[in-house]
Subunit: 148 residues, 12 copies
């Protein structure tokens, strides 16, 4: 029996992971990362749903629909992180645990990546650990839910 | 016979009104607000069309399609108000009356809510009156159209 | 029998309405606007007191004296809106409903008109509807008081 | 017969000229400066009215009352120059010639003296010439009116 | 025989002390604070004059008139502290000791309260001690005058 | 035989060209501009694909799908130019030539039009030449591809 | 019997008082100021402990160790006032009364002296009264503790 | 017979093209670029005059002298682009077509290259196309003149 | 046999965890967090050294001495995070893996907590997970070292 | 016999006065303005030298050569006013009276015209009086020299 | 016999010179630089004392103790240069010659390295000359002292 | 036989050294400084060429002509340092050693002197040593060239 569902959301351009510049980002695809995140969730007794979308409104819709159905959201919002305030309001209205995830660390890149619409409404943030971050985020969420 | 049509647009997350935190926002849903706006429009002899969408492009499309068909637009753009400049350009190209509406007053909240893409292209703005604002906006539009 | 009193305050230079540039602002004078506001108040069962003054301290005095005597204040503070923080503190100390009013929309004019000392202490703001705004503001106040 | 009236306005603390620090500002009082300004006006066939006030609203009132009665205003607004936007609106509504005057040059002093509410609504500005500026301003106004 | 006179100035809205929100600000009124300040002055052999006004120009006038007559000014300028540069110029021209007083600490409140027109022309500032600050300020002034 | 394909992307509201304010923008529609761009491409031996969309995610999707299929992208992102950082990341991941196009010059308009998410990832930019810019952009791309 | 202990902290370079530029700062040394502060404390029935250190961490350690042992801290943090946020966090965690003290007024000096890490966590601040400030601060603390 | 004359202006350090870092900028010299620009002009029936100067005033003089003699100016102002406002005023006073040209894209380089004195007074701008830009600019000018 | 040593550094005031406000921060002390971090390290075959200090230079010394001796540093620099650039330079010179840790998320607190001297020189950052973050950081480091 | 020489300097593009847009700036040329300035100087017993140059260094040279030879400089530096700090240093080193002159008022135009390198080193400034300003400036200089 | 003593201070992380990245910074250690500085001092007849410390307070202590004992201080404050205002105050109180030294040029690196607490209190600064700067600084100090 | 040539460039107003305010800057003229610089160069076996000009373009021309002929440039650009970006580009294109020189320290003067166009393209900077700086700069250049 499942302890509940964790929703993993990936924003714009994250579908290019593993395809673009494999010598830099490695050959692991988003599919691989999601698989490992799902395995991590499974070990802790949680189901994992996943949505990747380039569309801000699709993500907002998904957050709305997660209400009362998913125990937590792990979100890597891609570039939407830095300007898509509708996402902020959607997450603020969500009643479960929210964890922010970034593959690289946006705070050490261009200035426009220094603002996050997700941070003020997230329980915690994980930045810069590459694909490993997906496992870390799901693992942390599972432990937070168990302690809750 | 109708004096014309008023288009009421509601942006991202406004579908959550009345569902989320009823002790704060009241138990009135967006549906209730729209019903009262429609009644107000009806009393003044106007039809009211309504669209709520979490998608910026759906709102831009709706504004384009209102051209030459709707006499006025009342818009509560939600968080899109603060960054969605495509919405600004769509409203700037629209040839009817535009009224901006907010349930709370964004100018007394976070700094990122202090910029409005709608204000420079709106005839007038109504902020902070809660659900009552919907009736006020439709009523004002009707009177402006009658005086025009 | 009256439901109570609404205090309408007009700040500096608003006595020039209807005199200055009638081709732009219309031929309606401040007197006309006040008369229509009073009529609106009357229909809702409220008395309306009015004060226009070019003096910040006269307005601050009036707000102090309204305490416990007037149920609401509708204020168009003119240019004082943008720097007269004593007015802010006076309104913050007032215990009734406060509504902010502007004939044009200061947020789409010069940068120095983008700060409002009134907004943070007002229930709601109405901007850009010209003289119609006076009726809208009084009407909204009356409805808020009735709902309160 | 007079060619018309020039209104000379002096703002806060200018009544202290000649009293305070005579070794710095000279022994000439505001009275002396006004007398020389009046003589300059007289030579050009103009009457000169003078008001010194520490009160922003008194100055706004005087500007309103000058409408249709005085051909020009010469104004040294003292420290009000830098924040009293009601004065700006009053001068903007005035229909005669406006000349801005400062004894020292505010643009080479503290940063808060680098903003002027008068400059955007004045025909011209004269800064830094000490008491001589009063004569220069009246003389310039008289010549502008004659050329007009 | 008196050692001289200390002028205590209170700016806008300070007449509301003790009336407004007694559970927060205590039941001591401005009258009480002034009485204690006067007693402190008396013990040190000084007379205390007091003026509370909501009007910037009334305060500027009072500062001008204190010249050569009062040995020191203690001023709580209320919200005028943050924008009323005419007050700054009046205090700069005054030839006695100036002490700035605030009941709360404006530097830990809203950003607009972080600028003080009084600080650059005051010998010292006392912030945040509530009503006790009035006694502290008068006591400090008396000791400074005695040491002078 | 074709030398390859050039993808022409037009962002929000550009479908209104030629319809809105023909006395200003001329009577040429987007359709006309695209036709001329296609003719220019054809002369240089290239095919031209075109997409106009009001949706940021539709444009991001199109850029992703152009990878390995189109030799170059010419993009007039409309108002998305100024905030849609997902577009930036999509173009950064694209492996062909990118040219930025604007009908007017955004750098001489409102301040919010002074930031471009496209410029840092474009080979070159063409601004202000009206409809002619479409031909210029396609012609330049063709020459760059031939020289490459 | 003592009413409790007041901890007086002096930060970097304050050991130079009375040694450096006696014609400016007077011949009173920090030792003298501390002696007078101790006398003031004694009169009110309090012990006074004193630490001067050029080391931020020594001050942070002292604040930690004062917890549950000293009733109040009077702190002149010297230049650390303007950047040493660890001091801020230490004072925020302290459970007694905190009073901030400066010999001159940092708000009327260089811009980098306009930020204080101490102000947001202090009950009150005393600036600009020279050595007298030490007595004022201790006296105020004693009165606040007695009222508490 | 010539359709008129196009003036090509190159500012400071552009004489180093082709000499400095040929592996980066190519071996084409400014002479080569000018020759290709002249050929492009000739094909469209225009003469091309060229001036390269490191001197702002020489460029201002040339713009003044082009008045009534040259139909258009193509200008690559080099680093003067970013601060030489006299150049701005000269171009603003010029009565022909102005096109701005840059070899690289200044908006994606150092911040001080993000301001252009030329953009506000140019019909259009071409940035980032390397030497090809010279041909594009002249070709565009010729087409604009023919359409004019 | 150990796989190597991980150095855990805790900056100013973190020794107060578990003592100060237990109802907010929980009753777990820094000692508890370190014990759990050590257990996590042990399970992965690593030793864990720990230093808490209120002194920036003690932390800089420790980072220097870790060179060539510790495989990784996990650092929660407390308030030093936001201004102690010497720490930045020390970490930049360190040749092992660096992970930044915060109990709360500094990016959603006061503005002065929005700058991090650690982020630009860290592999990854973990913020907002409370005491759980210590285990997450050590676990992530161990996995990064194993993958390295 | 002459009382001395006044040097009148006109900067870039001022040679276009009277030629460019006569319906706006009038038909008076720079030649006319200089002639009237010379007549004004003559009446006061002063010679007037004039130099117009588009070159900053020519103006700097002229200021250097005026040392010990000209009693005063009247300078309208055109656009150089806003960035040419070498001019500032040249005027700062000059030992006579300096008066700044502008035909329009730069402080009410574009932001880049709000900085003046001349103001901090000028005795006085005259802005916005059109050609009349030349006579006012020379007249003021003559009176200042006579009073000196 | 010695002409006096020069104190050489090196701040945080400078003990890593020659150890870290020798291929970049060379194999010369801080020890080597100090030896060459001492030799330079010796040739000019001065003794050289040296202190390297990672501790701001140790440097402040050393500056205090140099008073009346050392004729000059040469200081490379490392990263403390950019925020350690206590160092500024200590140097301001020191009565000998102060010279600032940097191995690289902080003004061409990250923005946070663009502020120097040392520059306002130093006679001169030497930046960017690598290890040679130590000799230049000591040599310059010796010559300044001899000329003094 | 010469080791090569060093070009010494002095910008605007530096020809006034020794003439203007000798009680401040000493009686040494630029001629004296150059003579000492030449002697220093001679001792190290280098020739020294010198150019002083008030003209930015003359300096840019000189830098261009130094290419391949002079081994190094020592430049005191005077006020051009702070805005003349053409100078920056010229120095960036130069292939020898560049050293920046200032007689006083611009970073401790007016804010507009805090930007240097030379620093980012210079090997090193020497500021504040007065005339001695000329010798220091030439000596340093000679040693850098010998080490090269």
């Amino acid at each position: 029996m499942s302890n509940g569902t964790i929703l993993l959301l990936n924003g714009p351009n994250l579908d290019l992971l593993g395809i673009r510049e494999p010598e830099v980002y490695g050959t692991a695809t988003l599919h691989d990362h999601v698989a490992r995140a799902r395995a991590t969730a499974g070990k802790a007794g949680y189901d994992l749903e996943h949505l990747q979308s380039n569309s801000e409104s699709a993500l907002v819709d998904a957050i709305r629909d997660a209400r009362g159905r998913c125990a937590a959201i792990v979100i890597n919002a891609g570039a939407l992180t830095h300007y898509a305030w509708s996402l902020h309001d959607a997450l603020a209205a969500y009643d479960g645990v929210v964890v922010e995830l970034h593959i690289s660390n946006p705070y050490s890149r261009e200035p426009w990546r220094n603002t996050s619409v997700v941070t003020p409404v997230a329980k915690g943030s994980i930045c810069g650990f590459g694909g490993l971050g997906y496992e870390m985020a799901v693992d942390a969420v599972a432990r937070l839910l168990s302690d809750g």
